[in-house]
């Protein structure tokens, strides 16, 4: 539905919002410098040309500094392969170029597979797909790239964090280890937060995503109290630029949530509303994986259709390592963890 216009909208958003997500990921690869130039200024013209240049810079940086395994990709993008990020003119790396892990050159990268499965699932009617997320805690390195990319993707204000990463220190010094647990919305199959809403402004969609209608939410915050995972947030109207001379452009740019442009202005929605992770519906609608999945540098976050028996996520949740948070609440979360 209206895929092309949403795609256009996403492009627009990407132009306005500097890609904090990519910056964070590149920062971890020791490539932050490559991202500092303004989009379009250095790499004008044919995307294929600047892609070449970008990868050259990346290779140079790799030789100079830390490892950049994911960029060992062949530099011959095929236009036939679907790309996770279609917004190439703004500096995203087409997935085709990062698809080949060194260890198994013949195997399609998980992220490509998930992307293809997602696009297949999107061809089905909504009620025949059921989105789930799997997070492999052994792969999570606690970099918080997912937190930041989510913040950037959804253009979230201060105090609204759809996907914090809980850090846990186990043991006593010096015998300590750390564990990280990213906490998106669990998109419960039996969500306690939707029942309590006095105006029916939040509900579970047919594909299992728990959504909020910003135009209906009265801001009573009952759902915030009812969520056993603390996954809902109230938009108090705070700005990053509070107590500074001027509101900056990035605060005036809209959030693309639910496929609409939500500009925070005064006390209008989404200010005064309950807000939460919605699995990046606006990205799913254009065949893209949620931002936290594509930016996870440890490839620890998986996303897919549980109703597709051949999907990667279905393979993963068959693992004996699988667990879900607070099972005793009877909420049936659709976010699974591998411990």
């Amino acid at each position: 539905m209206a895929g092309s216009s949403r795609r256009g909208f996403l492009r627009q958003v990407a132009k306005v919002v500097p890609s904090v997500a990519a910056a964070a990921a590149l920062g971890h690869m020791g490539l932050a410098g490559a991202k500092r130039s303004k989009p379009g200024s250095e790499f004008e013209g044919d995307p294929a040309v600047w892609r070449e240049r970008f990868l050259e810079a990346a290779r140079a940086a790799k030789e100079a500094g830390p490892a950049v395994d994911t960029l060992q990709a062949p530099v011959s993008p095929s236009k036939d392969v679907p790309m996770v990020m279609n917004i190439t003119e703004d500096g995203f790396i087409p997935l085709a170029e990062v698809r080949t892990p060194r260890s198994s050159p013949s195997k399609v990268a998980d992220i490509i597979r998930m992307q293809e499965e997602l696009q297949k699932a999107m061809e089905k009617p909504m009620n025949q797909r059921k989105w789930i997320m799997v997070i492999d805690l052994q792969k999570c390195i606690g970099c918080s790239a997912c937190t930041i990319s989510c913040k950037a993707e959804n253009n979230l204000p201060p105090g609204v964090v759809y996907r914090p990463v809980i850090e846990e220190e186990i043991g006593e010094f010096p015998n300590v280890t750390r564990r990280w647990l990213p906490r998106p919305c669990m998109h419960c199959d039996d969500p306690p937060c939707t029942d309590v809403c006095p105006v029916g402004a939040t509900w579970k969609r047919e594909d299992g995503i728990v959504v909020v209608d910003y135009d209906a939410c009265i801001g009573c915050r009952y759902c915030l109290t009812a969520c056993p995972y603390g996954a809902r947030y109230f938009d108090f109207g705070d700005k990053y630029t509070d107590d500074t001379p001027a509101v900056q452009a990035y605060e005036k740019s809209p959030s693309p949530e639910y496929g609409k442009e939500w500009t925070r202005d005064g006390q209008g929605s989404p200010v005064g509303n309950a807000r939460k992770c919605q699995f990046c519906i606006h990205r799913l609608d254009v065949g893209m994986l949620p931002a936290c999945v594509t930016t996870c540098i440890g490839e620890a976050t998986f996303f897919g259709d549980k109703n597709d028996p051949d999907s990667l996520v279905n393979e993963l949740i068959a693992s004996p390592r699988v667990m879900r948070l607070k099972e005793e609440q009877g909420t049936n979360p659709k976010v699974y963890y591998l411990t």
Binding site: C197, P198, G219, Q267, K326
Partner: protein
């Protein structure tokens, strides 16, 4: 006959306090309306704060005062009959304060009516709103029926009281025009009204119980919060309403009744005081049950909020206000000076005041525990903190609501026949 408020030296400082509170409160309202929730100190982790506690407190006062009025109008308790109208008016003013508070607490005040146009019958909050709306209308109608007989006689008075009574009765000519003094007051047959009051009160009793029990259920149904999620909650709220509402009404009757010191006055105050004390005893037993059982089992999600209450950052809310001022001292006073009007009034006032601490300790401790271990330190932001103390703006808004409601109450005592008993006596 008017409530006795002004002719005392104490009226001047009280009046000054009121003006200060109202003025400061206006500033608070201005801040709230212009900056939304930005100046509030509640967070996404503790999403309900002072205002929700205040709302629960005010609706409790209202339901309690109403249920006491039902003793008179429905169950025919003769000894308290003179305070029936006053009890209804107290219930009405407390409800006005409650609705104002919870309205200001909404993120989108302009959408409050969505609860009626697109309400979710699966939500306790929707039911609570529907029930208190019904209760609000019933209260207005019942209050009207209770005072209209007296308004008829008051309309013949000279001065503002006469004009107000005429206006309320729809006699606009007499309300705004010249007012020749009537030689004979209108006669008014109250038999129909008494019957009507009994019927309205009979509808009101289950309504008030359902509505305030519903407030308790609103908290009780939240499975995510072990502290709230107890079947005792609706009962705790109903008994709590009687304690706080009874305390407030006893205080009002003790200090503001026009004919102070008469045997009738003493009888009413002592009766109301004893009822409040009895309800307080029942409430304390329930609180004991809640604390002892939960702490014995010591399951963290349920017990931790109680540890927070007993020894957390604000233990004085419990020990000083809830236990000391709200229970121990009033019980001691009523035991020692149980027949003295001012002492009983004071004790009951303390019970009513201390109950605000009880309401705070219902709402906030239930939210203090991070839902997942480590969530409190996962992302550092002021709006994600699991600590809460109300901001200045929050207190100012509460000052406005408190002074607004007491101001309306004061006007009511000056202009409405809340304690007139002439007709009853003559019958």
């Amino acid at each position: 006959m008017r409530l006795d408020i002004t002719p005392k030296p104490v009226a001047i400082p009280l009046g000054m306090i009121w003006v200060a509170a109202f003025t400061a409160g206006l500033v608070g309202i201005g801040l709230r309306l212009t900056s939304g929730h930005e100046l509030a100190n509640y967070t996404s982790s503790i999403p309900w704060g002072l205002w929700v506690a205040a709302y629960v407190y005010f609706v409790g006062l209202s339901a309690g005062a109403f249920l006491i009025s039902a003793l008179i109008f429905v169950f025919g308790m003769k000894s308290l009959e003179p305070i029936g109208k006053l009890a209804l008016f107290t219930a009405l003013m407390a409800l006005v304060a409650a609705l104002l508070t919870i309205w200001l607490d909404l993120g989108h005040m302009e959408r409050f009516y969505y609860v009626f146009t697109r309400g979710n019958p699966g939500s306790m909050m929707a039911w609570m709103v529907w029930l208190y709306t019904a209760y609000f209308f019933l209260l207005i109608i019942e209050f009207w029926v209770a005072i209209r007989g007296d308004l008829v006689s008051q309309s013949s008075e000279a001065g503002l009281r006469g004009r107000v009574a005429s206006l309320l009765l729809g006699k606009f000519g007499r309300a705004f025009g010249p007012r020749p003094r009537l030689a004979v007051a209108h006669s008014y047959d109250r038999t129909g009204d008494r019957q009507m009051l009994k019927i309205l009160g009979s509808i009101g009793v289950p309504l008030a119980i359902a509505f305030h029990g519903g407030v308790g259920a609103l908290f009780g149904v939240v499975g995510a919060r072990g502290y709230w999620n107890a079947p005792l909650y609706p009962l705790l709220f109903i008994v709590g309403a009687l304690v706080s509402g009874g305390g407030l009404l006893t205080f009002i009757v003790a200090f503001l009744w026009p004919e102070k010191g008469t045997e009738k006055h003493r009888e009413m105050v002592v009766t109301l005081g004893r009822m409040t004390l009895a309800m307080l005893a029942v409430y304390l037993i329930m609180v004991w049950a809640e604390f002892s059982i939960t702490l014995y089992a010591d399951i963290p999600s349920e017990a931790e909020p109680l540890y927070q209450i007993l020894g957390g950052p604000y233990p004085w809310v419990f020990w000083v206000f809830q236990v000391g001022l709200g229970a121990v001292i009033p019980i001691a006073i009523m035991t020692i000076r149980g027949k003295s009007i001012p002492w009983v009034g004071l004790a009951a006032g303390l019970v009513a005041l201390g109950f605000f601490a009880t309401r705070l300790n219902v709402v906030i401790p239930g939210l203090l525990e991070p839902q997942l271990d480590g969530l409190d330190t996962a992302y550092i932001d002021n709006r994600l903190e699991y600590e809460y103390f109300p901001s200045v703006m929050e207190w100012l808004v509460l000052a406005f609501i408190g002074s607004f409601a007491t101001g309306l109450f004061f006007l009511g005592t000056r202009l409405l026949p809340l304690t007139d008993q002439k007709q009853e006596v003559s019958q």
